[in-house]
C-alpha cells in the first residue's frame, strides 16, 4: 500500500517535471526572437507545503493547503482580503506555527527574508545601519546593497526623512543583503503610488533575475501579479483554487494584448463572472480594467 503511494508520488513528480519542461519550451516559443531568458544562477530554495492548516480562535484560515514551489520560481499569491494569503506567507516565514501539516525546504536551513507592507525600518538607525542589521558590522556589503537600489547617497540619513517608496527600497536592500534563498514579500507595494509601484516592480524583477532566489509575493493587485509571476496562485476560502502559469516574456508590457486578456480572465475568475470575449476593436481596455479593479477592491 505504502509503496503504491510512493510510486504514485514519483510518477506525479515526473509528470510535473515534464509539464514544466513543456512550459519552458512554450515560454521560449512565445518569446520568439526576443531577448533570451537571462542565465539564472539557481541559488533559491524549493518549498513544499503539505496539508498546511491554520486556525485563529476556531476559525479556519488555511484548510489543508498543498503547494510546491520550485527553486528560483516567482510565485504570486492573490486573493481577496482575509482569504489567508498573508497567513500563508507568515507560516512560510516561520513567523507563525502551523496547526497541522509540513513545511519543507530543499536547501538545508535556507536564509529566508521577509519584506513587509510597512517598511519596518528602525527609525533610530541611519539608512545604512538599517540595511546592515544583523550583518555583524559588514557595512561594505550594506553600502553595496544600497547602491543596488539606487540609494547610496542617502546612507547617512534617518528613515524618517525618506519617502514611502524610498523606505521600501531600503527594506528591499536590507532583505537582499543577506543573499536570501527565499524572499517573501507581504504586499510590500500596497501603500505606494501607482508610478512608484511600477518602478519597484521592475526593481524587484531585475534583482530577482540577477540573484535567482525563490520569491513569493502576496498581493491583491492582479496587474502586479501578472507583471511579476511565473505562477499565480489564487487562494479562496483557505484553499488554492487556481494555479496559473504566466508565460509572457519579461519585462512584461502592461499594454500587451495577452497581458490584458490574462488580467481580465483572472479578474473574472476572482469575481465569479464570465470573462469578456477578447475584443480587438475595443482598443484601449485599460479604463475598463481599472473600473473592474476598483469594484473588486471595494
Amino acid at each position: 500500500m505504502n509503496a503504491g503511494i510512493q510510486s504514485l508520488y514519483l510518477a506525479r513528480t515526473e509528470l510535473m517535471q515534464l509539464k514544466q519542461e513543456l512550459d519552458q519550451d512554450a515560454a521560449q516559443e512565445f518569446s520568439g526572437t526576443a531577448s533570451p531568458p537571462p542565465a539564472v544562477s539557481k541559488t533559491g530554495t524549493a518549498v513544499r507545503l503539505h496539508g498546511l492548516e491554520k486556525a485563529y480562535q476556531g476559525r479556519a484560515i488555511l484548510k489543508s493547503l498543498h503547494l510546491e514551489i520550485d527553486a528560483g520560481e516567482f510565485v504570486v499569491v492573490i486573493g481577496r482580503s482575509g482569504c489567508g494569503k498573508s497567513t500563508l506567507l507568515r507560516l512560510i516565514a516561520g513567523l507563525e506555527q502551523a496547526d497541522a501539516g509540513t513545511l519543507e525546504f530543499s536547501a538545508a536551513d535556507p536564509a529566508i527574508r521577509v519584506m513587509f507592507q510597512d517598511s519596518r525600518l528602525l527609525p533610530w538607525k541611519s539608512v545604512l545601519d538599517n540595511v546592515a542589521l544583523g550583518l555583524d558590522g559588514q557595512t561594505r556589503l550594506a553600502q553595496q546593497a544600497l547602491a543596488n537600489v539606487a540609494l547610496a547617497d542617502r546612507a547617512r540619513e534617518w528613515p524618517a526623512v525618506l519617502s514611502g517608496g524610498q523606505r521600501q527600497r531600503v527594506a528591499l536592500a536590507r532583505a537582499l543583503v543577506h543573499e536570501p534563498a527565499l524572499l517573501l514579500l507581504d504586499e510590500p507595494l500596497g501603500a505606494l503610488d501607482a508610478l512608484t509601484r511600477i518602478e519597484m516592480q521592475t526593481l524587484i524583477e531585475d534583482l530577482w533575475q540577477e540573484r535567482g532566489f525563490t520569491a513569493v509575493l502576496v498581493t491583491h493587485d492582479v496587474q502586479e501579479a501578472i507583471a511579476l509571476a511565473d505562477r499565480m496562485i489564487l487562494i479562496e476560502d483557505g484553499q488554492i483554487t487556481l494555479d496559473q502559469r504566466v508565460h509572457l516574456p519579461r519585462p512584461r508590457q502592461r499594454g500587451h494584448a495577452e497581458f490584458a486578456a490574462l488580467e481580465d480572465k483572472i479578474l473574472a475568475r476572482i469575481l465569479n463572472r464570465p470573462a469578456r470575449a477578447p475584443d480587438a476593436d475595443l482598443g484601449d481596455l485599460s479604463l475598463l480594467k481599472t473600473v473592474n479593479q476598483v469594484t473588486w477592491a471595494i
Binding site: A93, R120, P159
Partner: protein
C-alpha cells in the same frame, strides 16, 4: 480716481532707483527690530516687576520683613558667594540631588526593564510596586527619621524613593509600547537576545524613559527642599531654614532663587540628552533645524 491716474503716469524706474538705498536700510532696521523683539521682549515683564518691587520697598510700602528689596537680595547673594558659604551649600545640595537621582532613577530603570521584559517579573513585582507608588514619599518622613536618623542617608532615601517611580513607570511603559512589528522584523532578520535588546527594544523605549527622567528631575528638587529641612548641617534647604530663624528674608530669597536656578539647569541638561539621543525622531529633527 485722480490718484490712480497719477500713479499710472508716474515713471516707475525713478521710483525704484530712488528707493533702493532706503529700502535696504529699512530692511536691516526691521531685522534688528525683530531680533530685539525676540530676545529682549520676554525680559520686559520680569524687569518691570523687579523695578516696581524695588520701588515699593524703597518707598517703605513693602516691609523688608515680608519681602526684602531686590538690591538687598543681590547683596546677600554677593556676600554669601564671597564667604564661600553659598558654594558649600549649593555643592551639598547638588551632591544629594545627583546621588539620590542616580540611586532612585537607576533602580527604577533596572526594575522597569525587568518587569517590562519578563512577564514573570511583572506579575511578581508590579502589584507591590503599584501599591508603594501611591504612598506619597513625604508621608514616609517620620518613619524615615526612625529608620535612618537625621543622617545623610535619610535624605538620600527620600529623594531616591520619590525619583524611583516616574522612571520605573515610564521605563515599563516604554518597553511595553515598542512596536511589535519592529521586534518581529528584527527576529526574522536574525536578531535575538542582547542584540535585539540593544538595537530595537532599548532605543524604542528611550523616548518614554526620557520622559520619566524629566519628571524625576523635576521631583528631585521638591523632595530635596523638604528633606533638607530635617535637621541638616549644610545644603540650600538648611541655609534657608537657618535664615528664617534669624528673619534674614534676603537669604531665604537667595535660597529660593538658587533652587530655581538648579532646577533650570537640570531641565536644560535633560533637554540636551533628549535632543542628542532622540535626534532620529522627526519632532527633534524639525527642532534642531529651526
Amino acid at each position: 480716481m485722480g490718484t490712480l491716474t497719477r500713479d499710472f503716469h508716474h515713471p516707475p524706474q525713478t521710483a525704484a532707483t530712488a528707493d533702493v538705498a532706503p529700502a535696504a536700510a529699512s530692511a536691516r532696521l526691521l531685522r534688528q527690530w525683530t531680533w530685539l523683539r525676540q530676545h529682549l521682549l520676554p525680559w520686559l515683564v520680569p524687569l518691570l516687576l523687579l523695578s516696581s518691587w524695588q520701588l515699593a520697598s524703597q518707598t517703605g510700602w513693602l516691609s523688608s520683613r515680608i519681602l526684602p528689596e531686590p538690591w538687598a537680595v543681590a547683596r546677600a547673594f554677593w556676600s554669601l558667594s564671597v564667604s564661600g558659604e553659598l558654594f558649600l551649600h549649593a555643592k551639598t545640595s547638588l551632591w544629594r540631588a545627583t546621588s539620590g537621582f542616580l540611586i532612585g532613577g537607576g533602580l527604577g530603570l533596572l526594575l522597569g526593564l525587568l518587569t517590562g521584559t519578563f512577564r514573570v517579573a511583572e506579575t511578581l513585582l508590579d502589584t507591590t510596586l503599584q501599591m508603594i507608588r501611591n504612598i506619597p514619599a513625604l508621608a514616609l518622613i517620620p518613619l524615615v527619621i526612625l529608620w535612618f536618623g537625621i543622617d545623610e542617608s535619610a535624605k538620600l532615601f527620600l529623594v531616591s524613593v520619590g525619583v524611583f517611580f516616574p522612571v520605573y513607570l515610564n521605563t515599563f511603559h516604554g518597553i511595553r509600547s515598542v512596536d511589535a512589528g519592529l521586534i518581529e522584523m528584527a527576529r526574522s532578520y536574525g536578531l535575538s537576545g542582547w542584540s535585539l535588546y540593544r538595537d530595537v527594544i532599548l532605543p524604542g523605549a528611550l523616548p518614554s524613559i526620557l520622559v520619566g527622567v524629566r519628571f524625576a528631575l523635576g521631583l528631585v528638587w521638591v523632595l530635596l527642599i523638604v528633606a533638607e529641612t530635617i535637621s541638616a548641617q549644610a545644603g540650600i534647604g538648611y541655609m534657608t531654614m537657618n535664615a528664617r530663624e534669624f528673619l534674614q528674608t534676603d537669604v531665604v530669597l537667595v535660597g529660593i532663587l538658587l533652587y530655581a536656578l538648579l532646577g533650570k539647569l537640570a531641565d536644560v541638561l535633560s533637554r540636551r540628552l533628549e535632543t542628542h539621543w532622540l535626534r532620529w525622531h522627526p519632532s527633534y529633527q524639525s527642532r534642531s533645524k529651526r
